[in-house]
Symmetry: C2
Subunit: 206 residues, 2 copies
């Protein structure tokens, strides 16, 4: 054991890698949720001292906000790629989205399910702002999907009696449910079966 007094104050080796620390924080919040993840956990996992985390992110809520953005930039962006791909038909886009959800939610290297859906499912009134951040992201993602469906409808890709808003909400609901299923141990094949069943009898224009 080195002398405690001598080891205090490690100086300025280098600014800690913010993204690397956020990646570790993402995993922790993803798995345990906001309330169950303590700053001590985050310090231990990231290897960054508490004071440095506070200097960079103000407080736990600020760190969580940064974690949300980091997750969105790395995982969500990949998930929603098919929706923004102009080369795909509307059906292919939604099919691609659900298939990516199936594989992403059951990916072995990451916590099961979707961070956006489970990290703050239920939260204390004191951290209501946390819940709001994620809800806004979820609603924005749904709006993105619905917008894509509207474009598809405008191009005659959907049955005339299909409401894009309802269809989008339905697809989104299936995806949210798939996250819960993944958390409960559903395999990628089971998730793909669910996705396939959701896409069955797609209301295509004849």
């Amino acid at each position: 054991m080195t002398d405690t007094k001598a080891r205090r104050g490690a100086g300025r080796p280098r600014e800690f890698n913010t993204d690397a620390a956020l990646d570790k924080a993402v995993r922790l919040f993803w798995q345990r949720g906001y309330e169950a993840t303590s700053m001590a956990d985050l310090v231990a996992e990231t290897g960054v001292a508490a004071a440095s985390l506070y200097a960079a992110f103000d407080n736990k809520a600020g760190l969580f906000a940064a974690v949300i953005e980091r997750y969105a930039a790395t995982f969500s962006v990949h998930l929603y790629e098919p929706i923004n791909d102009p080369a795909l038909s509307t059906f292919e886009a939604v099919k691609g989205l659900l298939e990516r959800a199936a594989s992403s939610f059951s990916e072995p290297g990451t916590p099961a399910g979707c961070f956006m859906y489970s990290a703050a499912a239920a939260v204390s009134p004191a951290s209501a702002a946390i819940e709001c951040m994620l809800r806004d992201k979820r609603i924005a993602a749904e709006a993105l999907l619905i917008e894509r469906l509207h474009r598809g409808a405008a191009q005659g890709e959907l049955a005339a009696d299909t409401d894009p808003a309802v269809l989008g909400k339905f697809i989104n609901t299936v995806m949210e449910g798939m996250s819960v299923q993944a958390r409960d141990g559903a395999t990628i094949n089971e998730l793909l079966s669910i996705a396939e069943m959701a896409l069955d009898r797609w209301p295509a224009a004849v």
Copy 2:
């Protein structure tokens, strides 16, 4: 202000009403989740002193376990009634289940969504047992649904190429997603539309 010393020890007015206290605890856990609900919150909400709660339920986890059973006995039982109703066709049973989910998850007097799905979505490793309790309940409920579908299939109520296990998982997934939707503010009508769209894909025989 009454003298503090004189007010200590209030004697034995009556054993507190366990079910009434559990009902209040259900609401609290339902809304905030396991980790974000403190014993102090529970004491304030139920009006029962901490020591009395500990005498009755051992600890917070024990109280939560009792809350799960209470929720199952009051809300879940009602939700799954159609599944156990022998007078209903398989389709009617599933339709009834989803419609009850739509109204129950958006019921104004109770927290949005389903307790079983959101109360312990993400939890610390120390309370992994809590997560397990709910997961077991969810899986049991899904098994119940799948069993009902198997009976329907045996009676020729499903298309021959339909796997009851997959169909059950799909229905269950939609229901879980509906809970997230409800948490995010979906109205009963929106939830009913989602349910209807899920049933549109019903693989009836011929």
